[in-house]
Symmetry: C2
Subunit: 231 residues, 2 copies
């Protein structure tokens, strides 16, 4: 297809497509006699992946390049490729702002060893350089700074549920004949389901907050008019 | 306490504290005779809230101001304040990049009416201008563009779990005597638990991917050496 059709199919403007071509995020189309380039379904999928990484994953263009490099690198195992993608998505380890650390740079979250013990107990094999354990420990530190009585094992129920759905998701991706499609699927599943589940959680919080506000008839707080769209 | 002690207690540099004071994100300390300002525990909490919004919520300083405005605005109900915060966090409705829409701007995700029907069935009251239903619909569209066989009701199990934990979380916040602390708690709970659960999900995906890679003895893919920290 022509670049104009690629733009229509993907919903990405021609100017943006040309930018991705220049930046090397998108492979060139096949040259045709008429001095045009011919694009295929792989280009449509790749454009959607790039948009999902930028719009949903909210990762900068420079990091998109390293994610795509991992997607395309056929010399490493599927698991290692997925790990690379996770690390690109994870970004730099978050800085613990809650400790009495001053400005001396990145500090190890206090809950790190608790998270490591928890991973060991769950028998979850995580690469040493993965950002997720560090990030989870930093979140636990933050919750404790706000007096939430939280322990890492409070996440066991969520972890069980996540493990069950991960079994289906990873098996679905690995069963694909096309390696590129398999990694793409794991990336999309990771970032889009993550965002979707966060939105479900926000909706639940708003719905519960509305119900509790409505049933709070006593006390100093006035009742609010709850506007509903859902009924 | 002096600004230097506030910096130590909060882990935020003096220069950054002064920037927040200039930007009106942090209330001034009480003036003392010695031409210094005196800060209290409320300042420590507020600084931690600002850092959580910026570091965990990844929202720009301008949006932090509107979140804090909602936190401090005592003229609206607790539920409305929480709604304001949610909307500030949600940002602009995402642009659907997966439809055949060209560049005509923000489009309504295809799955919007499906999400609305789902909310109605769950009897979840959501404000009409809330960004979350739109965002969830956009995620469903994106998954479908990648051939995930997904329907909104697939999120029912996650929604049940989210509703249960929201009951505890919102009741915990509403029970607080101090209104500011109640809203702060809801904000922190929302963004930090969200991030923590996302990290748990990423860890589950990596752990399952490692296990499936290790047990894949046949097929064209070579076995990878799985590096473990967790055993």
């Amino acid at each position: 297809m022509k670049i104009s059709d690629l733009s229509k199919r993907s919903g990405v403007s021609i100017a943006t497509i040309k930018y991705y071509l220049r930046e090397g995020l998108l492979a060139s189309g096949e040259s045709t006699a008429s001095n045009q380039a011919d694009y295929g379904d792989a280009h449509v999928r790749r454009l959607r992946l790039i948009r999902a990484l930028i719009d949903v994953g909210e990762i900068p263009v420079a990091s998109v390049r390293s994610v795509l490099h991992a997607v395309d690198s056929s010399s490493i195992s599927l698991h290692d490729a997925f790990g690379e993608v996770m690390h690109s998505l994870g970004g730099a380890p978050p800085q613990a702002e809650t400790g009495e650390t001053g400005e001396t740079g990145v500090t190890r979250p206090v809950a790190t060893s608790e998270v490591q013990a928890w991973l060991k107990r769950r028998r979850w094999s995580i690469k040493p350089n993965a950002p997720a354990p560090h990030a989870l420990a930093a979140m636990v530190d933050t919750l404790r700074a706000f007096d939430f009585p939280v322990s890492v094992s409070d996440f066991d129920a969520a972890a069980d549920a996540a493990e069950q759905s991960a079994e289906l998701e990873v098996a679905y991706a690995r069963a694909m004949a096309d390696r590129t499609a398999a990694v793409e699927t794991m990336v999309i599943g990771t970032i889009v389901y993550e965002r979707a589940l966060a939105e479900v959680r926000r909706l639940a919080l708003e719905a519960v907050s509305a119900r509790l506000e409505n049933t709070a008839t006593a006390g100093p707080r006035r009742r609010s008019r709850v506007v509903t769209t859902a009924r």
